[in-house]
Amino acid sequence: MAAAMPLALLVLLLLGPGGWCLAEPPRDSLREELVITPLPSGDVAATFQFRTRWDSELQREGDTDHYFLRYAVLPREVVCTENLTPWKKLLPCSSKAGLSVLLKADRLFHTSYHSQAVHIRPVCRNARCTSISWELRQTLSVVFDAFITGQGKKDWSLFRMFSRTLTEPCPLASESRVYVDITTYNQDNETLEVHPPPTTTYQDVILGTRKTYAIYDLLDTAMINNSRNLNIQLKWKRPPENEAPPVPFLHAQRYVSGYGLQKGELSTLLYNTHPYRAFPVLLLDTVPWYLRLYVHTLTITSKGKENKPSYIHYQPAQDRLQPHLLEMLIQLPANSVTKVSIQFERALLKWTEYTPDPNHGFYVSPSVLSALVPSMVAAKPVDWEESPLFNSLFPVSDGSNYFVRLYTEPLLVNLPTPDFSMPYNVICLTCTVVAVCYGSFYNLLTRTFHIEEPRTGGLAKRLANLIRRARGVPPL
């Protein structure tokens, strides 16, 4: 390695017309947020959201053509530290300032639920959508268990959850806030106490219900200056009531039924628990090619009667090239269970395609449900810039319903697996049978008899003859 040599310059730089123009490319804007939701069971859920928006025009050849959309899914991939590290690298102030200081892998993976996402999408810059900017959103949700992480105590603080506290805001962020959900505990300060006491609160209709949040703004200099760090604490004055949380209006289940290794049936149950409103649901199923679906057996029943979907799109699978794609728009009647079932046959794979012996089986990816669920309380339309990030991930234009995307559980199926020791067994058996049969027949057919003189001579001579016969030499 050498230091740069003094440049006897071979390079002559030509100044462009207009010298060096200071036309500045627009700056990216970063907003970050943390939402802490204490749950009635004593657990606490924390959701981080980071949004970077930039205004440069990325190259796009025309509009997005739907023929170029791709969908891919990798079922049963366990998320671990190797997924968190590159995710953190996308954050400008990664792990050094702002809310990303709290992202420590040893605490985040010691939770009962962990979910990470990256969304990149174009957003309209104005109401008429004449120009667009690009938005990168990163979300991370964790649920801390009261018994595992909290050691049985139901009091939570930032230090207990993340083993860190917040010290300074990220200098690149235009907004850096922590929201604490104090909906049920707003009226009386006797159930849950939040410390330090919040200066402002925020009220809005989130996912159909009215919620109240306490806001801690890191960019507010008074917040951090007093104690140099911010450690938000939640203390339960009275133990939380063990009431069951309200059942969501839309939930789903999926399972495989049947017996044996030849056939089976794939069923999805969609529950609509709204007392009087029916709403449509878009169901997207991607089934791998080795489960050969019989689309003529597709049945959709609600409340015992057949339910015809208003839209079906089916793309059959091609062996080893692409999976089945089934997309349907189903109207769910109010307060009902809808069952979508389809029968399939399991395929026999080539011998190099089987996974090694100690395996679970083959995974089938979850189905995706997207719906606009009617809300109990009407919400006012979302103004992109003003509202917090957790409200603007899926904004809707009218407040009477909210958008929900659900994933069912992934399934595990067994495929008929041949016995791989059979080639060896066959070779052994066939060779033995052939040798014995063939050998006997050959002997029978070609054995010749000749007269033998009675043997004279003692034991020694007989032994010697035996040996000579074995050697193939004529006897004495």
């Binding site: 390695m1 050498a2 230091a3 740069a4 003094p6 440049l7 310059l9 071979l10 390079v11 002559l12 730089l13 030509l14 100044l15 462009g16 060096w20 123009c21 200071l22 036309a23 500045e24 490319p25 590159p86 690298k89 400008p92 102030c93 990664s94 050094k96 300032a97 200098p171 690149l172 080639p423 060896y424 070779i427 052994c428 060779c431 033995t432 052939v434 040798a435 014995v436 063939y438 050998g439 006997s440 050959y442 002997n443 070609t446 054995r447 016969r469």
Partner: protein, 406 residues
């Protein structure tokens, strides 16, 4: 100085011999090397005129085209290490394309709000250079800004000049901690060249790089062979007067691009030519690259490609000799035939001096030989257990009694 009459083919050279007293060249200069594959040599009226002029022409031609050290540089990887110096290992290995990344490292965004017009700078300075080099491969350029990216070394304080310095021995340790954040090698098909511009933090400003004599380096930059270059950009202390942090810093792209372009030339192996005595070298062109320098690069690359392709094919043949379980399918075989044909064609074209087609053929040779060598289907039967091969002999003991006929 001289106007170029027509476009020259790659790999060719035109030398004009002018009269002894002509005024085209300054009086004491014997020859001139132009930017576009032309040279002028002064003639002489002498008994040994042909020999003298011939020697001068040979000197000029050696400066502008293939010589032994160009070949040595090309084959540096295939030769034992002690023979050639570390200089030969500086340029990047030959590849079908390259990716160049410019990164701005700002470890202290609370104090410095740094802005750089990288798009304009690339368009004005880097792109013309890469266009001139386009025969050597595909180039792509991108840029990024990284915050809170520290150098791995703590600079030391020099009270004499009240500045911080990094001495030469700590420079090798600078790159590793930063490299994990650059994120370049993961997602690119081609080798990556990284150029980093580091704006030191307020606590360590100003920061200078010292060479082995302890004097600060004029350009405040260094480069690492086959990797890229790093330049330290000190913020002018006058900008701190207002004392409101963060301070807005506008990077002077001319100064920065001067250094990066020079490092780019070195990393591609475009070295300073050996100019013969009393020879005038033409001034720099606006792209930063003379056409015959590109020719030298293409020659070196062709030779290097041929060496790589032959080594790969030879290794494959040796492997086949040692491991009997390797499967050679038809498409792998056709790649091998293609590679051999391309090597032969490239060698013929090099011998006859057609540089452009030789270079293209050598690239095809490398691609085909690597496709053949790294094909995954070669190993399909590698783990066929030996005991299963001998199962067919299972019947031997049993059939013994039938084969002994008596």
């Amino acid at each position: 100085m001289l106007d170029e009459p027509q476009e020259q083919a790659e790999g060719s050279l035109t030398v004009y011999v002018i009269s002894e007293h002509s005024s085209l060249l300054p009086q004491d200069m014997m020859s001139y090397i132009g930017p576009k594959r032309t040279a002028v040599v002064r003639g002489i009226m002498h008994r040994e005129a042909f020999n003298i002029i011939g020697r001068r022409i040979v000197q000029v031609a050696q400066a502008m085209s293939l010589t032994e050290d160009v070949l040595a540089a090309a084959l540096a990887d295939h030769l034992p290490e002690d023979k050639w110096s570390a200089e030969k290992r500086r340029p990047l290995k030959s590849s079908l394309g390259y990716e160049i990344t410019f990164s701005l490292l700002n470890p202290d965004p609370k104090s410095h709000d740094v802005h750089w017009d990288i798009e304009g700078a690339v368009r004005r300075y880097v792109q013309p250079f890469l266009n001139a080099l386009s025969a050597a491969g595909n180039f792509s350029v991108d840029s990024q800004i990284l915050y809170y990216a520290m150098l791995g070394v703590n600079p030391r304080f020099d009270s004499a000049s009240s500045s911080y310095y990094l001495d030469m021995h700590s420079l090798p340790h600078v790159i590793n901690p930063v490299e994990s954040r650059l994120g370049s090698s993961a997602a690119s098909l081609y080798p990556v060249l990284n150029f980093l511009l580091y704006v030191p933090e307020l606590a360590h400003s100003p920061l200078y790089i010292q060479d082995k004599d302890g004097a600060p380096v004029a350009t405040n930059a260094f480069h690492s062979p086959r990797w890229g270059g790093i330049m330290v950009y000190n913020v002018d202390s006058k900008t701190y007067n207002a004392s409101v942090l963060p301070v807005r810093v506008e990077v002077d792209m001319v100064r920065v691009m001067e250094v990066f372009l020079a490092q780019l030339r070195l990393l591609f192996g475009i070295a300073q030519p050996q100019v013969p005595p009393k020879c005038l070298l033409s001034g720099p062109t606006s792209e930063g690259l003379m056409t015959w320098e590109l020719d030298r690069l293409l020659w070196a690359r062709s030779v290097e490609n041929l060496a790589t392709a032959t080594t790969t094919l030879t290794s494959l043949a040796q492997l086949l000799g040692k491991i009997s379980n390797i499967v050679i399918k038809d498409d792998v075989a056709s790649e091998v035939y293609k590679a051999v044909a391309a090597v032969q064609k490239s060698a013929e074209e090099l011998a006859s001096g057609h540089l452009a087609s030789a270079f293209v053929a050598s690239q095809e040779a490398v691609t085909s030989s690597e496709l053949a060598f790294f094909d995954p289907s070669l190993l399909h039967l590698l783990y066929f257990p030996d005991d299963q091969k001998f199962d067919c002999l299972f019947f031997c003991p049993i059939s013994q009694h039938s084969t002994l006929v008596h």
